[in-house]
């Protein structure tokens, strides 16, 4: 942006508001699924109780901690660039990316275990389960899957931010992309804050 003459007209407040508007649509994307979950849980309380016992609360709790810490490191990277410490900002984003990797690895083992038990949508085992349990596992795979997709997209976004920090395109004066990348990452964390108790904790 620094090469164009009208670069000073880039309004960071407007850019950020655009990001928030996008986050609102994300909220309703997941919100819709939360509503389906709430209604189905009311309709099939026993089946949901049985099915939720299958989930590993320890992996869920571990991933909660991982995401919360990564949310802090990405928030700190913003502090670092505002204080004109690009190398610290790069390091903190790198830690965030590693934590994203840890989250995805846990998810891989978790899903892998479910698949080895033949608990996946459309499997022979799944077809024998009561209707409410099928709903629970369907929602579980849909919600955690959609969330994991957001972790991957957030990871790609933060990788781009990291390289732009390296090249100096993001600096103490212009860091809107990093701010918006951080906002996206916090949204990923925000959604998990609700997914964790609803799917893993409440049985």
């Amino acid at each position: 942006m620094s090469t164009t003459e009208h670069s000073d007209y880039i309004d960071s407040d407007t850019g950020k508001m655009g990001m928030w508007l996008f986050l609102f649509t994300e909220l309703f994307l997941f919100g819709g699924l939360f509503i389906v979950y709430a209604v189905m849980r009311t309709k099939y309380p026993e089946d949901f109780h049985q099915a939720a016992l299958e989930l590993n609360a320890f992996i869920g709790a571990t991933n909660t901690v991982v995401l919360l810490v990564s949310s802090m490191t990405v928030a700190m990277s913003l502090t670092a660039i505002q204080k004109n410490k690009p190398n610290i900002a790069i390091g903190l984003i790198f830690i965030t990316l590693i934590l994203a990797g840890v989250f995805m690895m846990n998810k891989y083992f978790e899903w892998g275990h479910k698949f080895s038990l033949h608990l996946y949508p459309g499997s022979d085992v799944m077809k024998t389960l009561p209707h409410g349990e099928i709903m629970f596992f369907g929602l579980y795979f849909m919600m955690t899957g959609l969330h994991a997709l957001h972790v991957i997209i957030g990871g790609i976004l933060l990788t781009i931010v990291m390289f732009k920090l390296k090249s100096g395109k993001i600096n103490q004066e212009h860091y809107l992309l990093q701010e918006n990348g951080a906002l996206y990452w916090h949204l990923v964390d925000l959604i998990w804050i609700f997914l964790f108790p609803l799917l893993y904790l409440i049985t």
Binding site: F24, F28, G31, I35, A38, M72, A75, H186, F196, I202
Partner: protein, 94 residues
């Protein structure tokens, strides 16, 4: 316009926020082990909402944003709450 006028959150504030979030997470894990019966879901959701509010306020810097943006975010959450209420009214009274 440059990002000059932005508030800078200190490292220590971010760390404090994380510690509070971790304490709340532990609380919700323990609270659910103690079974509040019918209140279990409510307890879990209240703690999750408090955590979400903290993330929005501090990590997402809403505390330091302008009034318009804060009103927009509050408005969207209010809208979502209304949608949930209407859905359940529809579910219970159809």
């Amino acid at each position: 316009m440059k990002n000059h006028d932005n508030h800078i959150s200190s490292y220590s504030l971010n760390l404090t926020v994380l510690l509070i979030l971790l304490v709340l997470t532990t609380t919700s894990v323990l609270a659910i082990k103690f079974h509040f019966g019918a209140f279990t879901v409510a307890v879990a959701l209240i703690i999750a909402s408090v955590k979400a509010a903290i993330v929005l306020t501090y990590f997402m810097h809403l505390k330091f944003e302008n009034l318009l943006l804060r009103l927009m975010v509050s408005g969207v959450f209010l809208l979502f709450a209304i949608v949930v209420v209407i859905t359940f009214i529809d579910y219970y009274f159809r």
